[in-house]
């Protein structure tokens, strides 16, 4: 009973401390929130990785026309674009890109730039009036302007990439044309303007449907990308980065709470309340049990809040409830034992403040290495070995498995490993603390 009284008193003190609450709940949630904003979405597996929608102003000043050109482009009613500017406009406003960019049209390039400067839009794409004519001229050059808000990074970069890809298609035809003309001239033959335009028209006829289908998969791509097959773990990493970051943050701060929570033993010793506790008819073992219980209960509250918050706000699906619950208990026990172990080597809160921060950071980083290398295909084996040298590594891996759809049979080794860590750390810690206070 006295253990519970000590635990409740310690918890009351912890939750009254703004500093402790910040580190237990606010910072891990804020950090995840920041990454979530950066990656532009939640951690919902089903939604996948959501790119930010960028407001784009498109100014099509292209005055050129395919009219009068021979062949399919000018004659085929299926092709409703009358210029390259219009072709670009159609591609950029196609349905496939609506999730990435929100395009509105303007007539004046100055107005478009002004809107970007006022942060009413992220990007302005200004198609010059001589785009089609320059394109059709064998040696003509022209530039499409992408004017962006310098405070944005990801959205404009994506828009630039799309515009570049579309323009590359047109550039390719010009290169083809130049090479063709050079070859014909080298062979001593003459080619007239009509024949040149026929070649261009044929190329345009080929790329126009491709441009219109931008953003969706092409049925018959000329080029296909094949990547080397990765190993099982890598191919299973379909978890959203935000979910992994939340898991990593939660684990890091849970172990920090374990270490900081048990630090109250040192603080109470310095404040004189621990000796006073020892002067009451309360056995030393009861006092230490109360301290361990308070840290354990605090971590249970912390981990529950973080998991539920992640599920509700960041839409993270942590996985099979039973597996996550047992894993959380194992994480809780190992982090509380980790705290007792660390504190048993410390002599003062001053020393503990520095040492705990350092040790938790180093072990946290070692344990989280698989998260840091999430995007790496076939990460080196030593990463897995290093991460398993810290309890944080087993915890992170366990959550990774449950988020990938793993069940109890898939995470029982992680649970067992964490419990072994807990028993070992608790045993050493309690032995040392008992020795100090007996």
């Amino acid at each position: 009973m006295k253990s519970i009284d000590i635990a409740l008193k310690d918890m009351l003190q912890s939750f009254r401390s703004l500093f402790a609450v910040m580190f237990m709940f606010v910072i891990p949630i804020l950090m995840t929130g920041m990454f979530s904003l950066m990656f532009g979405g939640s951690g919902n597996d089903e939604e996948g990785f959501v790119l930010p929608t960028t407001k784009v102003i498109l100014v099509n000043q292209d005055e050129g026309s395919f009219a009068g050109m021979p062949g399919e482009v000018s004659q085929n009613p299926e092709y409703d674009a009358s210029s390259i500017g219009q072709l670009l406009t159609m591609a950029l406003t196609s349905e496939g890109l609506t999730g990435i960019m929100d395009v509105s049209m303007m007539d004046s390039s100055a107005d478009a730039r002004f809107a970007v400067d006022n942060q009413e839009a992220g990007v302005a794409i200004i198609i010059p009036k001589n785009l089609t004519t320059s394109f059709l001229a064998p040696l003509g050059t022209v530039a499409v302007e992408v004017y962006q808000d310098p405070t944005l990074s990801i959205g404009p970069a994506i828009i630039k990439g799309i515009v570049s890809q579309l323009l590359d298609n047109f550039s390719a035809s010009k290169i083809t044309l130049a090479v063709t003309l050079e070859q014909i001239e080298n062979s001593g033959q003459m080619i007239d303007e009509a024949q040149i335009q026929a070649v261009v028209a044929q190329y345009l006829a080929t790329i126009q449907p491709e441009g219109q289908s931008q953003g969706s998969e092409s049925a018959n791509p000329y080029l296909d990308i094949r990547a080397p097959k990765t190993d099982q773990n890598s191919s299973d990493q379909t978890i959203n980065p935000v979910a992994m970051i939340m898991a990593g943050m939660s684990i890091f701060y849970v172990y920090l709470t374990g270490a900081s929570g048990t630090q109250t033993i040192l603080k109470e010793e310095e404040d004189g309340t621990l000796p006073r506790l020892f002067s009451t008819p309360t056995p030393t073992a009861t006092i230490l049990r109360g301290k361990f219980l308070s840290v354990t209960l605090t971590i249970i509250v912390q981990i529950t809040v973080l998991l539920v918050f992640g599920e509700l706000v960041f839409k993270i699906h942590w996985g099979d409830l039973l597996s996550v619950a047992l894993l959380s208990i194992a994480i809780t026990l190992s982090s509380a034992a980790f705290g007792i172990f660390l504190v048993s080597f410390m002599k003062s809160t001053r020393q503990a403040g520095i040492m705990i921060g350092g040790v938790v950071t180093i072990l946290g980083m070692a344990g989280m290495m698989p998260i840091f290398t999430l995007g790496m295909p076939n990460p080196p084996a030593f990463i897995s070995i290093i991460s398993h040298l810290a309890p944080q590594g087993w915890a992170a891996e366990g959550l990774q498995v449950t988020m990938s759809g793993g069940v109890l049979s898939d995470v029982w080794t992680n649970i067992l490993a964490l419990l072994v860590w807990a028993v070992a750390l608790f045993g050493i810690g309690v032995y040392r603390v008992n020795k100090r206070y007996k």
Partner: protein, 314 residues
């Protein structure tokens, strides 16, 4: 006062490696009395109290609280004791009431009885109207009172107070001394340590004087003063360095002891009326002049000076 023994120590020893803190301390405190352990800082008073209250294990010897051995029945011994530590040992981020409720539980109080005792103590220490306020916002005197109140929650028969008046204002000090006497009137045995001679003199039925880890004298105030007999204590200031004057005065008839402290000279003399003229004369012979003189009746300070050759506040 009953004849029951409240605290008894038997040859208590404590050392910290090479440094000995307490050597063979024997104390017997009767139930219902105020017993003061008087000594300068570093004499070993807190070490004795720490052993009696179970915070330190003696290297040798034992102590009993109401017959319970601190080594064999530590929980029973602790249950009979209320300890007021020298440093304020309370939770600053809890309220006065929360502190009392928690410490009451640590002493085994529960339910309605606990609430009743907390309410009574809050009244006793004068914090009833501030019971919900966080202790961190309390004045030093209020914290001291709460520090004492915690030790009284479980109505112990024996209260140990380790220098409870250190570093507080005279008004709070007066309140604490009055409350000690009030507790004693209610039947509590009080074991009080101090390095203030006046407190020991005012409060105590019995006093033990401690120095360098040993009890050098004990008894009632009257018995202790008798040790120095009819000696007078004279405090003098001179206008030159003290070494030459002390050397001259040492051999003056009637001068029993002479020490210097912070430029002031302390003498124990048989009859101050006879000795003083000689002191003036001999000082003048070596070119010194006495600038102030104070003659004191024999007291505990005199006893300590007599026994150790040093002033109590050294």
């Amino acid at each position: 006062m009953s004849n029951r023994i409240a605290i008894q120590t038997n040859n208590l020893h404590k050392d910290f490696g090479e440094v000995y803190a307490v050597r063979g301390v024997n104390i017997e405190i009767q139930s219902g009395e105020i017993f003061s352990l008087l000594g300068p800082n570093g004499a070993g008073k807190t070490t004795v109290i720490s052993m009696i209250s179970g915070l330190l294990k003696p290297n040798q010897g034992d102590a009993t609280i109401l017959g319970h051995s601190i080594t064999h029945e530590p929980l029973a011994a602790k249950a009979a004791l209320g300890v007021v530590p020298q440093e304020i040992a309370i939770y600053e981020d809890l309220s006065a009431r929360e502190n009392l409720m928690f410490w009451g539980k640590m002493y085994g109080l529960r339910g309605a009885h606990l609430k009743q005792r907390v309410a009574e103590i809050l009244e006793t220490i004068g914090l009833a109207d501030r019971q919900k306020g966080r202790v961190e916002k309390f004045s030093g005197g209020m914290k001291r009172r709460l520090n004492i109140g915690i030790a009284l929650l479980h109505e112990p028969e024996v209260v140990i107070m380790d220098e409870p008046t250190v570093g507080i204002d005279p008004q709070s000090r007066r309140k604490i001394l009055d409350s000690v006497m009030e507790l004693n009137k209610q039947g509590m045995t009080v074991f009080y340590t101090t390095h203030y001679m006046e407190e020991a003199q005012e409060l105590s039925d019995h006093i033990a004087i401690m120095d360098h880890g040993e009890i050098i004298a004990s008894g009632t105030h009257a018995e202790l003063v008798k040790i120095v007999g009819e000696l007078d204590r004279i405090e003098l200031n001179i206008n030159t360095e003290s070494d030459r004057v002390m050397e001259t005065w040492k051999n003056t008839p009637g001068v029993e002891k002479i020490t210097a402290e912070n430029g002031q000279l302390h003498l124990l003399v048989n009859d101050s009326n006879l000795v003083l003229p000689q002191l003036f004369e001999k000082a003048a012979q070596v070119g010194s002049r006495i600038t102030s003189v104070e003659i004191q009746e024999p007291n505990l300070e005199t006893v300590f000076l007599h026994l150790t050759g040093r002033a109590l506040r050294d």
